[in-house]
Subunit: 238 residues, 2 copies
Amino acid sequence: DLVVMVSDLFASGEFDGLTVVVTAGPTWEAIDPVRGLTNRSSGKMGYAVATAAMEAGAKVTLISGPTALPDPERVRTLRVESTQEMHDAVHTHIVDADIFIGVAAVADYRPVRAADGKIKKTLEKMTLELERTPDILASVAARKPAPFTVGFAAETENLEQHARQKLEAKKLDLVAANRVGADIGFGTDENSLLLVEPGAVTELPMQPKAKLARALIRHIATRYRAKHTAKVHTLRRP
Amino acid sequence: DLVVMVSDLFASGEFDGLTVVVTAGPTWEAIDPVRGLTNRSSGKMGYAVATAAMEAGAKVTLISGPTALPDPERVRTLRVESTQEMHDAVHTHIVDADIFIGVAAVADYRPVRAADGKIKKTLEKMTLELERTPDILASVAARKPAPFTVGFAAETENLEQHARQKLEAKKLDLVAANRVGADIGFGTDENSLLLVEPGAVTELPMQPKAKLARALIRHIATRYRAKHTAKVHTLRRP
């Protein structure tokens, strides 16, 4: 019966039998072969989430923007550069996935035109025309069937409000929001998260990113099981 | 006499008694607390140059933009973020320096206004107004007295021509040019350099960056001595 099945699931790891796709790091939008638009993400949180999912028993694919971090052990890691490349890699690997966790801090805008050669700096002022990049999270949540979709939101203020807007606008299952600023959130080894879901808010206090990632994975496992109780049968091995 | 003095100088290291300031890495120009403009520099070449100068006997100050590299041993390392901060740190530390080697791939343009809060992505298109950042190399070469000033030029094409333009426009003593593209120059562990000086071009072939940096330092030492033969007396310890 269900109780036995769920305890089996626990015994073999909270994510045993599940396939998880995680994105991490920044993306890089080329202005020319040398210059680009990017953001402060070091990739540490995404790599910690991929490792925690693997430790919980999942088969994990990590799709990473440019970072200085080594590939996590026992995680299939794919390196991409632009948001478009990350979008395409995600949709290639999400097909059989149960859970998507988008930790990457993707560039929201890219230059309308990237120059083939290095731009010469002859002008005192310059304007750079930018266009929106594809919305990876929204496009994953819109798939039929959609995986359990978790987004991250790095915010400087009004964390819960902005996270809830993101949750609803993109039809996500959960948004993990963290406060960022000049000295917090990016590149550091500690972080805290506010988990925003339909009708619920949970705070995971400041702690090392590896520990925080394991707490997030435990939370996601609970919510995933609650949503997919009817599907638990299909997770049992013969 | 001069012969004895020069051999003394060699015996104790090609840069013995000299003070050298090196810049390295990219700079970061904030668009908002999360996003920014930067470039592909990993900082490896600049750190290798700082280490090679230290090994040659110099007192070295390394002024580095954001990199994932540890501070080189026995080199005073200062971390900065924007081109303006790098400019200011260079002029603070250059006062008593004999040689300046600008390896940093500084951002040439910065947003006219950086936002205090994270910009919300409500618009499909956006224009970013950019202005020139201060020219660190030219401002160092214009000092009275000026140190022996070496610039780097990362170019996608016409290496020698672009390097010579830079040499003359900024009144530098030497420009070390390297070819960059999608897969060469930045982030790699090997590189080659074309050394462009008034009336001379020297090629240092593809080799590991640490070895290349030592060859560059030997070349600079020769040229520095040629320019400052009259000053050799002041380098002798009593």
